[in-house]
Amino acid sequence: MDQAATEQDVLAAAERWRKEGRKVALATVVETWGSAPRPVGSHLVIDDKDNFLGSVSGGCVEGAVVAAAGEVIASGAPKMLEFGVADETAWKVGLSCGGNIRVYVEKVD
């Protein structure tokens, strides 16, 4: 049966992946302003092969979070990421809904 990507499953996957020996980072929405697609507390778990589960923005900025997770896994130091409104002309990653979010990315170890 398909696993529904509830927060429960995301955190359970983070634990399971780490115990399997994979290198893992956990991203969490810690602040939102305006219209934000996922509420504060939402998680995305990422491994060092760029597999991920969950969501922090409904798909808008996951790519950038996965890239940052790679750096966090390599360095061990957490990062705070901030995303604002998408700027299509500048090809900047962002949120088309017009909100702002702050995402905390940390290594699981």
Partner: protein
């Protein structure tokens, strides 16, 4: 996050116990707080408030910024009746984030083959429900059409203050059901809390469509409260 802290967090969540993970933003220092430990914590006032509200977010205390991720138990859906509608409703509700339990003493219905990955108790409600300890974070749905199974469970769900209570059946069936529940001593104010006919009026015809209408009505009560109208 340390793996040992993550493992404790997942164990607490699996046991339907509330926790808050506190992260000091500047340092990344983390701890897990249970309700019983909150009074001893330096952030006790804000922790107490967050356990009540369930809201995760940033808190500033003594010049430091903390992220509080509040993990309350997910809502639960208890269904009497391992019936066709339940076969659609149970997986839909799981996807929507509910812990799902089905109660049906009829073992031919309550088989694991019909309900893979769902907790099914093949017992009468008077035995099964005390074990489940129904609460205000629980939605209850009666789907058997059998008064002997549904009605004791409806009375228990009303007494426990379940946030949603629905019962399958026409207006006529429901009127007879209300008479019997009144005879059991259930008050009219409580009976008015039963959603029947069950589900939002979206013209649902097939069992999976009826499941959609029920899950939509449960969502309305969960997110908008007992009085909200569409």
């Amino acid at each position: 996050m340390r793996l040992d802290l993550l493992a404790v967090l997942n164990a607490e969540r699996a046991a339907r116990r509330a926790t808050i993970v506190v992260t000091e933003v500047a340092t990344g220092a983390q701890r897990l707080v249970r309700p019983a430990d909150a009074a001893k914590d330096p952030l006790r006032d804000v922790l107490a408030e967050r356990f009540l509200s369930g809201k995760s977010g940033i808190a500033e205390v003594g010049g430091a910024r903390y992220f509080l991720n509040v993990h309350l138990p997910p809502p639960r859906l208890v269904i009497t009746g391992a019936v066709h509608i339940s076969q659609a409703l149970a997986p839909m509700a799981r996807i929507a984030g509910y812990d799902v339990v089905i109660v049906d003493p009829r073992t031919a219905f309550a088989s694991p083959e019909r309900f893979p990955d769902v907790a099914v108790l093949a017992e009468w409600p008077d035995r099964a429900l005390p074990k489940l300890s129904l609460d205000p974070a629980t939605a209850f749905v009666a789907l058997t059409h059998d008064p002997k199974i549904d009605e004791p469970a409806l009375a228990a769900a009303l007494a426990a203050g379940c946030f949603y209570i629905g019962a399958l059946g026409s207006k006529k069936t429901h009127a007879k059901r209300l008479e019997r529940l009144r005879a059991r001593g259930v008050a009219d104010a409580a009976l008015a809390r039963i959603h029947a006919p069950i589900g939002l009026a979206i013209g649902a015809a097939s069992p999976p469509e009826i499941a959609v209408s029920i899950l939509a009505e449960i969502t309305l009560r969960l997110r908008r409260g007992p009085e909200a109208r569409l």
